[in-house]
């Protein structure tokens, strides 16, 4: 596909989708269908554009000027390998969300008025369109405009369900955090544009070449905090577990699966492409900070996810974890890139792992959010403790959710395993290159990654088991029925992606060639990672003396299938006589759903182990009838705290409110006094800055 016309077509699709909100004047349902159809069309065009760039001639950058809106900045779009790769990630999830969306919105809130439906359609198209074009931005102005558009549109979606006051509060927190981050990004970009005298990335690159080390590092850390706020790294993640669950589920899938990745795109573009020194490695403080931040986010994200009983909140915390895993790869690539004696191909392996995990996480987290959405649309309950037994009632949803759960737990043969395995290879390879404390940090990071994988598996054993297995705990769960086919199709699309990326990951390396080679100016992904055919993964560490490690995902899959088949046959063979149905023996009581494991109980051992981190609080109230031996009712309440929230945010909050209290106590409220202050301040400023010159 011709990329220029592809981009125009994509803009037309999203624009038409946004305009289709007007159809809600006549029929809200019509607006929903047409709007989502337009999103689907835009995403399919986006897929075409990105694939044609990724599989086309390497190293090509396409630039397309945009209409001049501002006298001081030329706006343009520019698509290279990295842009195209993230456009691919966005479009893949957007396809699923667009297919899934209309049915979800209709079943979840059948009483929604046309006004809300119009808003949702408009905001969805603006949101996806802004993300898609953000990755294709060719200058800082376009980038920031689309960045802001993305934030505003997602805010509208977060607060679009206005029946719940909690959503408005989540939206406000999101808005404040997002704009705090954007402010830092603005500073970082404007310092560069002011030096460059222009806004396009090429000019910024040239201007960044003349920066001294301190300025460069300061700008990087500004951008890291700015992008990190959007990506939800610990401790800037507090908005994420509130805002993501508040949005409609297919939007949650987009926010968690894609929007966070856009921040990763920004970080990669800013650090590797624009701000990097002309020659030589990146300053070492960058990579190590990103590595440590990534490791912290991964571990804390999954630990907090374990204690959540709201299914969408749990998934949102897992996004913090996965962003952490991606940042581990990014940080390692930053450390190793162009470093004499240690870098080489290992940096490419690390970046490949990060980018592959970006795609993989988009696929399985999208799938999980859509799965959670179909449960919620049928039961209107987000708390797992009130669900249960859904596997019989919603078999397709359960199966696909299980698929996503296996993928996110990094179990073979699905895609989560592949990228985490690659991250491990890069970490272990990197640990061998550094000695002393530096090597230790990398080894520690690898150990934490392993812990993260294990905890994620525990978390999803809980999430899947409590939601789908056992008996229904409430009437909501008992009367649930399977989701409509279009929602199943949306989930199945992402499920197929998880399987394909897991079983034949070698093909994905082909897609990663252009972004890795373009960003690192070194060998592409497939030159380093796949050695023997598309089925075999082999991290090419041989060049620097370590033995290569190889794994064939296809063979692993075949082996697993064969083992399952053998176990099944053996079990069948050993069975004597026909199966016999009998009631379960429960000491004379009849078993009820209250006998099942609850989510709280399942997570209890870990709550004990990590008690210093969770600071759990619990409260048990017994109601007895006269004697302590007859218990009428037990009321249990427990909660864990988010350390970042209590230790950082609450303190800041208290500080600000006590400061403003004291200002209020001291201010007179007399306007003459204030004008006098202004006059005095003017005077002092003139004296200080006027006389010195």
């Amino acid at each position: 596909m011709n990329v220029d016309s592809g981009l125009n077509l994509m803009a037309a699709c999203y624009g038409a989708g946004a305009l289709s909100a007007l159809l809600a004047r006549w029929s809200g349902r019509l607006a929903l269908s047409v709007g989502h159809l337009a999103t689907l069309a835009g995403a399919v065009v986006g897929l075409g554009v990105s694939l044609s760039v990724l599989l086309g001639a390497p190293g090509r950058t396409l630039t397309q000027p945009l209409p001049a809106l501002f006298p001081f900045a030329r706006l343009s779009l520019s698509v290279d390998g990295l842009s195209a790769y993230f456009l691919l990630v966005i479009s893949l999830v957007a396809v699923a969300a667009a297919v899934y969306g209309p049915a979800y919105l209709r079943t979840y809130s059948p009483d929604a008025g046309p006004a809300r439906q119009a808003t949702q359609v408009l905001a969805l198209n603006v949101f996806v369109g802004c993300m898609a074009f953000l990755c294709c931005a060719g200058d800082a102005m376009t980038f920031l405009l689309f960045w802001e558009g993305m934030t505003l549109a997602s805010y509208v979606l977060v607060v679009s369900d206005d029946r719940d006051g909690e959503n408005a509060r989540a939206g406000l927190l999101y808005m404040v955090m997002a704009h705090g981050g954007t402010a830092l990004l603005l500073v970082a970009f404007l310092v560069l544009t002011e030096r460059a005298g222009a806004f396009d990335f090429a000019a910024l690159r040239a201007a960044a070449g003349d920066l001294d080390g301190t300025t460069r590092t300061t700008l990087f850390f500004l951008a890291l905090v700015g992008f990190g706020t959007k990506a939800g790294v610990v401790p800037l993640h507090v908005w994420l577990p509130r805002a993501h669950p508040a949005a409609p589920s297919h939007v949650s899938a987009l926010m968690s699966g894609v929007m966070l990745k856009v921040a990763i795109y920004g970080l990669l573009r800013f650090a590797f492409d624009i701000l990097a020194p002309v020659a030589g490695p990146l300053p070492s403080s960058w990579g190590w900070t990103v590595l440590v931040v990534g490791t912290t986010s991964a571990v804390l994200g999954v630990l907090y996810a374990l204690q959540q009983h709201d299914i969408k909140r749990l998934l949102a915390f897992h996004s913090v974890e996965n962003i952490g895993i991606i940042l581990i790869g990014v940080g390692l690539a930053m450390i190793l890139w162009r470093r004499e004696g240690v870098g080489g191909v290992l940096a490419t392996v690390a970046l490949t792992a990060a980018l592959l995990h970006t795609l993989n996480h988009a696929a399985f987290k999208g799938l999980l959010f859509l799965g959670a959405g179909s449960v919620i649309s049928r039961t209107h309950v987000r708390n797992m403790e009130e669900l249960g037994g859904l596997a019989r009632r919603m078999p397709w949803t359960a199966g696909l959710f299980l698929l996503g759960a296996i993928a996110i737990s990094a179990l073979p043969p699905l895609n989560g395993f592949v990228s985490e395995w690659l991250t491990f290879q890069a970490l272990l390879g990197g640990a061998g290159r550094f000695h002393g404390p530096a090597g230790l940090v990398i080894v520690f990071s690898a150990a934490m990654l392993a812990l993260t994988g294990g905890l994620a598996a525990a978390c999803f054993a809980k999430a899947f088991g409590v939601t789908f297995l056992g008996r229904p705990r409430t009437a909501h769960a008992e009367h649930a029925t399977e989701a409509p086919p279009s929602m199943i199709v949306g989930m199945a699309w992402l499920g197929a992606l998880c399987v394909a990326l897991g079983v034949a990951p070698g093909y994905a390396m082909r897609l990663l060639d252009a972004p890795t080679a373009g960003l690192l100016h070194g060998p592409g992904a497939s030159a380093v990672v796949t050695a023997r055919g598309p089925m075999v993964l082999s991290a090419g560490l041989t060049a620097s003396g370590t033995a290569a490690t190889a794994i064939s995902m296809t063979m692993v899959t075949a082996l697993l299938i064969a083992l399952t088949a053998i176990a099944w046959v053996l079990r069948r063979g050993s069975r004597r006589g026909p199966p016999r149905a009998a009631p379960t023996w429960a000491c004379g009581m009849s078993p009820t759903s209250r006998f099942d494991y609850t989510a709280t109980a399942f997570a209890k051992p870990l709550r004990f182990v990590f008690a210093t981190l969770y600071r759990p609080r619990r409260e048990v109230i017994r109601e007895t009838a006269g004697t302590p031996y007859v218990v009428r009712r037990i009321h249990y309440a427990g909660e864990v705290v988010d350390l970042a929230e209590t230790q950082i945010y609450h303190r800041v909050q208290r500080g600000i409110s006590s400061l403003s209290q004291s200002i209020r106590a001291r201010s007179t409220g007399r306007i003459h006094g204030y004008i006098g202050f202004v006059l005095a301040a003017l005077f002092v400023a003139l004296l200080l800055f006027g006389v010195d010159q």
Partner: protein, 218 residues
């Protein structure tokens, strides 16, 4: 006109402007302050006309005309009307004694001359002492706002302060682009109109002036 003559005229006009400012600061009745500010605007219109003949910049004629009609006639008339409509005591009630205000004003003027002596390059313009006078007028306008108890005083102060800014800009740059000058004038017109309406409305609903605003404090 030679550059020397222009400089002398502008210096003299600056002295008169300062004098009108002192009149505003020391005015015992609000009417006098309004007349003084109108006179001040008239002087600025004359200064614009003088600069226009000296530099041959026709834009300055336009500015002189606008200043004359708007600032010398229309806005003082609006203020006058407000005072009549409000129908309250017309004595100025200073926050601090007039003598103290005048002492502060002397300090401000001395300081402005001291400051502008350090701004060498700006002083090279043909307009002599226009810069320190402009700075002094601007700051003294704020002083009027700070010491007046009623909203009307503050309107007059804003008006005077704006005159100072206008004078500085005109004298130092010998005429900014016309569009900017007109923009500044429009700003003041709008500010005064809005404030006039606000004052009348507030007065008619709650019978309070800005001195009572501190009751709003939580």
């Amino acid at each position: 006109m030679s550059a020397e003559t222009v400089r002398t005229i502008i210096d003299d006009l600056g002295a008169l402007l300062l004098f009108t400012m002192i009149l505003i600061l020391a005015a015992g009745q609000i009417y006098r302050a309004i007349y003084a500010v109108a006179a001040q605007s008239l002087l600025i219109a004359i200064a614009a006309a003088v600069l226009a003949t000296a530099t041959g910049n026709t834009d300055l004629w336009v500015i002189a005309g606008i200043t004359l009609t708007v600032k010398t006639i229309v806005l003082p008339w609006v203020l006058h009307r407000v005072v009549r409509r409000m129908n309250v005591r017309r004595e100025v009630e200073p926050v601090i004694p007039v003598a103290a205000t005048l002492a502060l004003a002397v300090m401000v003027v001395v300081m402005s001359f001291h400051l502008s002596a350090t701004l060498g390059p700006v002083n090279q313009a043909i307009t002599g002492n226009a810069l320190p006078v402009g700075i002094a007028l601007t700051l003294l306008g704020v002083l009027v706002m700070a010491t007046g108890k009623t909203a009307l005083n503050q309107m007059v102060g804003l008006f005077a302060s704006e005159n100072g800014i206008f004078f500085t800009a005109m004298a130092v740059t010998q005429g900014m682009p016309l569009i900017i000058e007109i923009g500044v004038i429009l700003d003041v017109i709008l500010a005064v109109l809005v404030m006039a309406i606000m004052v009348l409305r507030v007065r008619s609903t709650v019978d309070a002036d800005i001195a009572g605003l501190d009751r709003l404090k939580g």
